[in-house]
Symmetry: C2
């Protein structure tokens, strides 16, 4: 009985996600679901990414998922993009019904890309479709080499990994080759970009990747 | 209906946890539920702690919670203590029914302390009583200053915080005073021990704390 009800919850979530995806596709908006452990650097990555996108005339909006507090949302306020905050009040991941509400606060025809910063958690967010085009996993080098094999679902589902805090490598026991070997085992096509967001390292490749995604989305829709 | 069933699940978990706690109390075994984000250093802390406890003739056992793989369990095998592995197969936290099974694999009359290394997750494990005497939260400095206020439940529930990777402070933007202020707001009595497990810094205070807990447990039971 519990299992059946959990299935219903997941089904309801996925149906709503499919609905949101169809709506956002119609409006040519590219959606990134950003997932990582607490403290891997998701918000810092957004702080550094927003000005680079603005310089390319790509119009972004943010949905901030947090268990408690508006700290991350406040950090992104100065960047002059719409920021919608979802406090999950203890829940360990975002669901599509909250995303729907957040979207209603945006002027969608003035947006090219939406970043959804999920709750800091390497496990649960990977299980819930929230209408995104891609899941981007952030892994930071201080978390250790073994995270890809220990938390395989996210790395299986992700379209891109940002390997963050690469500037700390010399102080850590992180084995870069083992990391790449584990990625190759779990998801052979998975793209990795090495960055150090707080030091502005590697961000150009990441922003070029985002730009290509946004462009591709617009072209795809034009041919529909 | 879903809410009622979730309550039943939590109730069943808590009832089983109370049962385990009563059993472990009778046997004077002190139980630590170790909780943190992925990569904060729980396994490394155990690797460094086990020899120090052995030197004090404190007999330890480990229950390893992992979503997939036996990597952490394998790392602890060389320390000549009983290690029981629970693979949660995707689940984001341990529950007391799994702990009961793990305990059945131990010779409990030859154990003074059990460490339960929970799934790497700052959210869900804090919600589930698994029969422990104390929750010990591990937070590592690369995760950032804001984690206490952003994930308040764990720090509210914990009896001790190990602030790990303190050796990296000079390379990071971690504000020690803000961290302590946040701790004081959420849980004024919460004890903090600063450590760098991989560098053997601060471990003596941690092991002394454990020893005092084990001793207290034995004395309490003698007077019952």
């Amino acid at each position: 009985m519990l299992i059946k009800i959990m299935q219903n919850v997941l089904e309801a979530n996925d149906n709503k996600a499919a609905e949101l995806r169809a709506q956002l596709n119609k409006q040519n908006i590219f959606v990134v679901n950003l997932i990582s452990s607490p403290g891997s650097g998701k918000t810092t990555i957004l702080e550094k990414t927003l000005p680079l996108l603005a310089a390319k005339n790509i119009r972004a909006a943010i949905i901030e998922g947090d268990i408690a507090t508006d700290k991350d949302a406040k950090r992104l306020e100065p960047f002059n993009v719409p920021v919608a905050l979802i406090n999950t009040d203890g829940a360990c991941h975002l669901e599509s019904v909250s995303i729907e509400k957040a979207l209603q606060s945006f002027a969608l025809d003035a947006i090219d890309i939406i970043f959804i910063e999920n709750v800091g958690n390497l496990v649960c967010p990977a299980e819930f479709d929230i209408g995104e085009d891609v899941k981007v996993a952030v892994l930071s080098t201080p978390e250790g080499t073994d995270k890809v094999s220990k938390y395989p679902l996210l790395f299986h589902e992700a379209s891109l990994v940002l390997l963050n805090k690469i500037d700390l490598l010399e102080y850590l026991d992180f084995h870069v080759q083992t990391f790449y070997n584990d990625v190759a085992k779990i998801h052979p096509d998975l793209k990795v970009i090495e960055i150090a967001a707080s030091k502005n390292i590697g961000l150009e490749e990441w922003v070029d990747w985002l730009e290509a995604c946004v462009e591709k989305k617009k072209k795809t829709m034009r041919h529909d």
